[in-house]
C-alpha cells in the first residue's frame, strides 16, 4: 500500500501540508470520497427516510437501507436486521447496557472486562454492577502487556453473564484474543461484547467466524463522519432488548393509548436517523473495501512496528505494550518530560500526538504512570513522518533537559 498516493485522497493534507497527524485513534481524517458522498446526499437526495410515499424519499430510504446491508456485509453479519445505528461506540455500549443487561444481570452475577478498557466499555458495566448487585472482574495483562488468557480462563466462570472487552487497546495497540475469549465466554454460558472502536478501522471483522454476541464501533474512527456508530447484536438478543426511546419512525401502529412497535432494528431507532452519517459510513466502508482490510491491517502494523522500533532504541524513551506490534497505536514516555509538555513541544513542530490517559485511567495507573504520549498511525501516515517524530523527540530532550 502506498501511503503517499493515499494521502492525495484526503483534502485536509493539502490544506495542512506540513502537519503530521498522529492522533488517528482519536479520530481519522476523511477522504474526498466520503466528503463527496455526503455532499452528494445533500445536493441530490436530502429527503427523510421511512415515512413518505413520494419517489424521492423512497430512493433515499433505499440508499439508507442499502447502506445498512453494506455495513452488515462489512462485518459479515448474518442479516442487516442485526445492524442498529447509534451515535458511536459509547452510545452503542450504553444502549446495550441499559437496554439488555440492566434487566438480565442479577445479584451475584459477574461481568468480566479487561484492565485495558476505554472508559466507554467500563463505566456502563460499573454502573450495572453497582445497581444490580453484580461483581465486575478484571482480566489483567501478562508480562508482554498482552491480555492474560490464562488469567481470563480462571476469571470467566459459570457466574459470568457477560465478557466485555476491546478488540484493540487504544493505549497499548495490541489485538486481544477475541476468538479464545468468545469460546471461553460461550463455554460458560456468558455473552461476549466486543468494543470495536479501534478494530473496525484497522482489522477485518467477521462476526460469524468469531461468533461474538455484540459489537460496537464508531464511524469517525474509520474515515466516516462523527455522530454515527453501529450496534451489532445477534438477532435474538436485539429482540430481547428494551426499547431505548419511543417516538416516530419505530412504530407499526399507534392509537391514543397504545402503540405497536416495528421489528428490529427499526424499533431501536426512534426518530429521524443520522442519514448523512449512514451514507458517509457506507462510503467509508466502500473506500476501505477498495483498499482491502487485509492491506489496511498490514500497513498499520508496518507503521506501528517501525515507529516502535525507532522509539525503543532512543535513550530515555519508554514504549509501552508488546514488542511485536499489530496496529498503528504506539504509546510512550520520555524520561523527565511530562507528556503534556512533550505534546506542546511536538505541537510547535506541527506534530499532532495525544497526551494524557486516553480515557483509560485504570490502565494508565497500571503502567505506573500518570499519563502517556500516544502516536496513533493510520494508512495515510508515512515512514518519513515517523523519522521526523524521532528527530523532534531528540530536539525536545535538548530543549527541556539540555541533553540528547
Amino acid at each position: 500500500m502506498d501511503s503517499l498516493n493515499i494521502r492525495h485522497h484526503f483534502p485536509i493534507f493539502k490544506e495542512h501540508s506540513d502537519m503530521i497527524y498522529f492522533d488517528n485513534a482519536a479520530t481519522t481524517q476523511k477522504p474526498k470520497y466520503v466528503i463527496d458522498a455526503i455532499s452528494n446526499f445533500y445536493t441530490h437526495h436530502n429527503f427523510n427516510v421511512h415515512r413518505s410515499v413520494y419517489t424521492h424519499a423512497g430512493e433515499t430510504t433505499e440508499m439508507f437501507e442499502q447502506s445498512r446491508k453494506n455495513i452488515a456485509s462489512f462485518i459479515n453479519a448474518g442479516s442487516a436486521k442485526e445492524i442498529v445505528f447509534s451515535a458511536g461506540t459509547t452510545d452503542s455500549i450504553n444502549l446495550i447496557a441499559n437496554g439488555y443487561y440492566a434487566k438480565h444481570i442479577k445479584a451475584g452475577d459477574e461481568i468480566v472486562v479487561s484492565i485495558a478498557e476505554h472508559h466507554s466499555n467500563l463505566l456502563p458495566w460499573q454502573k450495572i454492577a453497582k445497581n444490580n448487585g453484580a461483581t465486575l472482574k478484571f482480566i489483567p495483562l501478562n508480562e508482554d502487556a498482552n491480555l492474560d488468557l490464562n488469567a481470563a480462563s480462571q476469571i470467566i466462570s459459570d457466574k459470568t453473564k457477560l465478557v466485555a472487552v476491546t478488540a484493540v487497546s487504544n493505549v497499548l495497540g495490541n489485538i486481544n484474543p477475541i476468538d479464545q475469549l468468545t469460546t471461553l465466554a460461550h463455554e460458560h454460558g456468558a455473552d461476549i461484547l466486543v468494543d470495536g472502536a479501534q478494530a473496525a478501522p484497522e482489522l477485518p471483522i467477521d462476526v460469524q467466524k468469531t461468533p461474538i454476541d455484540w459489537l460496537a464501533f464508531s464511524g469517525h474512527k474509520m474515515m466516516a463522519p462523527t455522530g454515527i456508530g453501529v450496534l451489532y447484536g445477534k438477532q435474538d438478543l436485539l429482540e430481547n432488548m428494551d426499547i431505548p426511546r419511543v417516538g416516530g419512525e419505530m412504530i407499526e401502529s399507534v392509537s391514543t393509548t397504545d402503540h405497536k412497535v416495528k421489528d428490529i432494528p427499526y424499533r431501536l431507532e426512534a426518530g429521524t436517523p443520522n442519514i448523512e452519517g449512514v451514507i458517509g459510513l457506507d462510503a467509508a466502508i466502500s473506500y476501505l473495501k477498495e483498499l482491502k482490510m487485509t492491506n489496511v491491517q498490514k500497513q498499520c502494523e508496518k507503521l506501528g512496528q517501525y515507529l516502535y522500533d525507532q522509539l525503543n532504541v532512543l535513550d530515555g524513551v519508554s514504549v509501552y505494550g508488546p514488542t511485536k506490534r499489530q496496529t498503528g497505536i504506539v504509546s510512550f514516555n520520555v524520561d523527565n518530560i511530562h507528556p503534556h509538555d512533550a505534546a506542546t513541544f511536538l505541537d510547535s513542530k506541527n506534530i499532532d500526538v495525544r497526551a494524557g490517559q486516553h480515557c483509560a485511567e485504570p490502565l494508565t495507573h497500571k503502567l505506573g504512570v500518570n499519563a502517556t504520549l500516544r502516536a496513533s498511525l493510520y494508512i495515510y501516515n508515512t515512514i518519513e513522518e515517523c523519522n521526523r517524530l524521532v528527530d523532534c523527540i531528540n530536539e525536545m530532550k535538548e530543549f527541556f533537559n539540555g541533553s540528547k
Binding site: 503534556h340 490517559q357 485511567e361 527541556f400
Partner: protein, 140 residues
C-alpha cells in the same frame, strides 16, 4: 508558536523546585482528568493562617512551575490577598483586565492563554489554594 514564551526560564526553574512528596493527608486534592496532573494540599488551620501549608504536585512543567511560583507569591499574604491573587490569575487566563503588579513573576504564564488546553495546568494550584481557604470552588 514560540515555545520560549511558554516555557520561560523562570517557569522551568521553578518547576524543578516544586515539592512532590505526597506524604500527608490532604485536605484538598485536585486532578486534571485529561492529563493526570495532580496536586494535594493540607494546612493545620485553614483560614486565615496557612503557614503550615503542605503541598505536593505531580504534573507538567506548567503545573509544577505555577505551583512553586504560587507558593512563593502567597508567603505572608492574608486569605483575602490570596483570593485576590487567584482572581487576577484567573482573569489573566481569560483575557480579562488584571492587575499585573499584583501577579508579579506569575505574569510569566501570560502566554499560556494561547494554549487553551494548558490553562487548566496553570490554574490547578490556584484552584486548590482557593478551595483550601474558602472550602468551595472558585466560581468563574
Amino acid at each position: 508558536m514560540d515555545l520560549s514564551n511558554i516555557y520561560q526560564r523562570i517557569i522551568m526553574q521553578k518547576a524543578s523546585e516544586c515539592p512532590n512528596n505526597n506524604q500527608f493527608d490532604s485536605d484538598v486534592h485536585l486532578t486534571n482528568p485529561t492529563c493526570g496532573d495532580n496536586i494535594s494540599m493540607a494546612a493545620d488551620e485553614k483560614n486565615p493562617n496557612i503557614e503550615n501549608l503542605q503541598v505536593s504536585c505531580d504534573g507538567c512543567i506548567i503545573c509544577k512551575g505555577a505551583t512553586q511560583m504560587m507558593l512563593e507569591a502567597i508567603q505572608d499574604k492574608s486569605a483575602d490577598q490570596i483570593n485576590e491573587l487567584v482572581l487576577n490569575m484567573s482573569k489573566m487566563m481569560t483575557h480579562e483586565h488584571y492587575n499585573e503588579e499584583l501577579l508579579g513573576d506569575l505574569v510569566a504564564f501570560k502566554s499560556v492563554v494561547h494554549l487553551p488546553i494548558r490553562i487548566k495546568c496553570a490554574m490547578l494550584p490556584f484552584k486548590a489554594i482557593y478551595q483550601l481557604i474558602n472550602g468551595d470552588d472558585i466560581n468563574r
